[in-house]
């Protein structure tokens, strides 16, 4: 899937320069680091994801959960208030539970580890949606609802009755460009790179800051790592 509809040359030079993945090993395993200390919960990454990938209204490939019980509301930890966010999209697991259960191999891991979804093969049984522990897959339940009467994305829209999800913006990876959620983050809370290269920024951050995987105990081995906030900002209660 993800038939690209616009060439990389169409992007302004400044955008291309800012979006370069940079040096990677010859055999990259793409991964992402999300710095929860930097994330301000603004949903910019979620919005640009929708326009980049032409995700219809009511569907989101990317969302920002608030850690706690209520949206954008602090929670009390050891008598102090604290608030941080959990930006959540496909975790591109090393051991994905979705690809195993797909009856037609419409979802599969690419050579570089990106978990893909083939909309032309998918039969819409939604077994992958059941199997995913992160709730990040979205199904085309009806005819897509769009704010415009033309397609807006950089990739082809998906047909009704099939599954879709975050692709790490494979159409951008092909041109050496980072996913657009990483590109657009105003707090630079998202970092993208090669996990196979021990000197890449993602590898270093995971090592130095103690990157954590979401629901690590399930053994899915995500390639998205979260950097937990180091300091507690004590707000007076």
């Amino acid at each position: 899937m993800s038939d690209k509809v616009s060439p990389v040359e169409a992007l302004p030079p400044a955008s291309r320069e800012w979006g370069e993945i940079g040096p990677a090993s010859g055999n990259p395993r793409w991964g992402m680091v999300v710095d929860q200390e930097r994330c301000i919960g603004c949903w910019s990454c979620c919005v640009i994801c929708k326009s980049e990938n032409d995700v219809p209204l009511g569907m989101w490939w990317n969302r920002i959960d608030t850690v706690g019980d209520a949206l954008d509301t602090p929670r009390r930890v050891q008598g102090e208030l604290e608030m941080h966010w959990l930006p959540l999209a496909c975790q591109h697991c090393e051991n994905p539970s979705c690809t195993k259960v797909c009856p037609v191999q419409a979802t599969y891991s690419r050579e570089d580890g990106v978990v893909m979804q083939d909309s032309q093969r998918c039969i819409g049984c939604r077994f992958c949606l059941v199997a995913c522990p992160y709730g990040v897959r979205v199904f085309n339940w009806g005819k897509p609802d769009r704010p415009t009467d033309f397609d807006t994305g950089m990739v082809a829209p998906r047909p009704i009755g099939t599954m879709e999800k975050c692709t790490f913006c494979v159409h951008r990876l092909a041109d050496g460009q980072i996913p657009s959620c990483v590109w657009s983050c105003p707090a630079q809370a998202r970092i993208f790179g090669d996990l196979n290269d021990p000197d890449s920024r993602v590898s270093r951050l995971i090592r130095e800051r103690g990157g954590e995987q979401l629901l690590e105990e399930r053994g899915t081995d995500p390639r998205v790592f979260y950097l937990p906030p180091r300091r507690k900002r004590g707000l007076e209660t």
């Binding site: 989101w60 969302r63 608030t66 019980d69 259960v101 797909c102 037609v104 199904f139 339940w141 399930r218």
Partner: protein, 436 residues
């Protein structure tokens, strides 16, 4: 005993015939409505259902596993009767295997409206992925359907041949044919029982192998599916046998119902034990992955379903069936059977609802619902209250009506009454015919 084939019950009472016509007309109407609803759903996509991303499977899958379970009674009774010598089950074997065939057919058909792209079902053959429990299940459902259909044929074949029916596929009524029947019955029993066990286990593994769902991820899933299938399958078989007996198309004594009722009591007891063991194991450590779903099961928005399952589906039938004096009364056996059939349906509902209806990452705003929501509401959900839409009820009802129609017509046309295929009787009747 004269067992020469008589043209089946042509002298049915008129009131019975009228009731039958009304019944068939009702089923046909249900089927037509269901087809109409399915066309509507095909036009609008699965948005016509109330399923959404936070509750991605609903009525169709629930009924799929329910009907897989209902098919258990037939084959297990037929095979076990043969393998372990429970000969008293003989009068109802034919109706039991017919029930199994129709139930598994209904189950398979229910998957068609559930998938988003019915036009791509052939992908299941073209791109079959061996690690998917869905592929395992479709394989065993196909095998199981073939076995049950063969069973129906082998058990009715001799009588069909006697009638000169083309359904006998050119086989005759000689002693050689009868001997081959016995061999085939033995063979079918030998493959039928393992196939039935596999069918229920694999259907359980669709759910039980998912690490994403604490309520499902349990090694007890397969044993529980086998036992709940035995409960509902036996319950339905007793009911159908009693109903068809009233039309005079099968005959057996009340003590057979009592015998089956005793079996059902044992199955219900084991099911109750497994449910208790499962809930206790999940709740005791108090770890949220497993304990949260159990808390929802016992006290959440769907808790009424669970307590209904326990009281109406397990406790009451057991009380009605366990004492010998009560189950000697056919009426109590019928009531208890009906309750187990409903109870296991609710058990299936509980499995799907409690497994799926909450976000696995428990932080707000939760999972993207997937369709545009009314202004002023959120398009995300942490937990999602699901109830089937009218379209889902109509489509599922249509499939069930179709199954009931097939069953009714088969029960009318096929020789269900035991007696003609008996080897000794066969030989006697042939000698009589030769002598005359």
């Amino acid at each position: 005993m004269n067992t020469v084939a008589s043209p089946a019950t042509s002298a049915e009472p008129r009131a019975g015939a009228r009731a039958l016509h009304l019944w068939i007309a009702l089923l046909a109407a249900g089927l037509a409505l269901g087809l109409g609803a399915w066309v509507y759903q095909l036009m609008h996509g699965l948005a016509a259902t109330n399923m959404r991303n936070p509750m991605m499977w609903g009525l169709y899958i629930t009924l799929f596993m329910y009907f897989v379970g209902l098919s258990a009674g037939g084959l297990i009774v037929a095979s076990a009767g043969r393998l372990f010598g429970a000969t008293r089950l003989k009068p109802i074997v034919r109706i039991a295997v017919l029930e199994a065939t129709v139930a598994v057919m209904i189950a398979a058909l229910l998957l068609l409206p559930d998938i988003g792209r019915p036009d791509r079902v052939w992908h299941l053959l073209r791109y079959a992925h061996v690690t998917s429990p869905l592929i395992w299940d479709l394989t065993i459902v196909t095998i199981y359907f073939a076995i049950s259909a063969s069973y129906v044929w082998v058990y009715t074949r001799a009588d069909l041949a006697r009638r000169g029916s083309p359904l006998a596929l050119g086989t005759g009524t000689s002693l050689v044919d009868a001997r081959r029947d016995e061999r085939l019955k033995g063979l079918l029993a030998a493959v039928g029982l393992p196939a039935a066990i596999l069918l229920h286990s694999i259907t359980a593994w669709i759910f039980g192998l998912q690490i994403s769902r604490g309520f499902w991820y349990s090694a007890l899933m397969a044993p529980m599916f086998i036992v709940s299938a035995l409960v509902s399958g036996t319950g339905l078989m007793i009911l159908l046998a009693l109903i068809v007996r009233r039309t005079g198309r099968v005959s057996f004594k009340d003590d057979l119902a009592a015998y089956l009722g005793g079996m059902l009591a044992v199955f219900v007891a084991v099911e109750g034990f497994l449910v208790f063991s499962e809930v206790l194991t999940a709740a005791y450590p108090g770890a949220s992955f497993e304990a949260d779903p159990v808390r929802r099961l016992l006290t959440g928005p769907y808790a009424g379903f669970f307590w209904f399952e326990v009281v109406v589906g397990l406790v009451v039938p057991f009380v009605l069936l366990a004492p010998r004096r009560l189950r000697a009364n056919v009426r109590w056996v019928a009531v208890a059977s009906a309750l187990t059939v409903v109870g296991i349906l609710i058990h299936r509902v509980n499995i799907v609802l409690n497994g799926l209806s909450y976000a696995t990452v428990p932080y707000p705003p939760g999972v993207s619902i997937g369709t545009v929501q009314p202004l002023g509401t959120t398009s995300f959900a942490l937990s999602y209250f699901y109830h089937p839409s009218a379209i889902e009820y109509l489509v599922a009802g249509g499939v069930i009506c179709f199954g009931a129609l097939v069953f009714t017509i088969a029960a009318l046309k096929l020789p269900l009454k035991e007696g003609g295929s008996d080897l000794a009787a066969d030989a006697v009747s042939r000698r009589d015919r030769l002598a005359s």
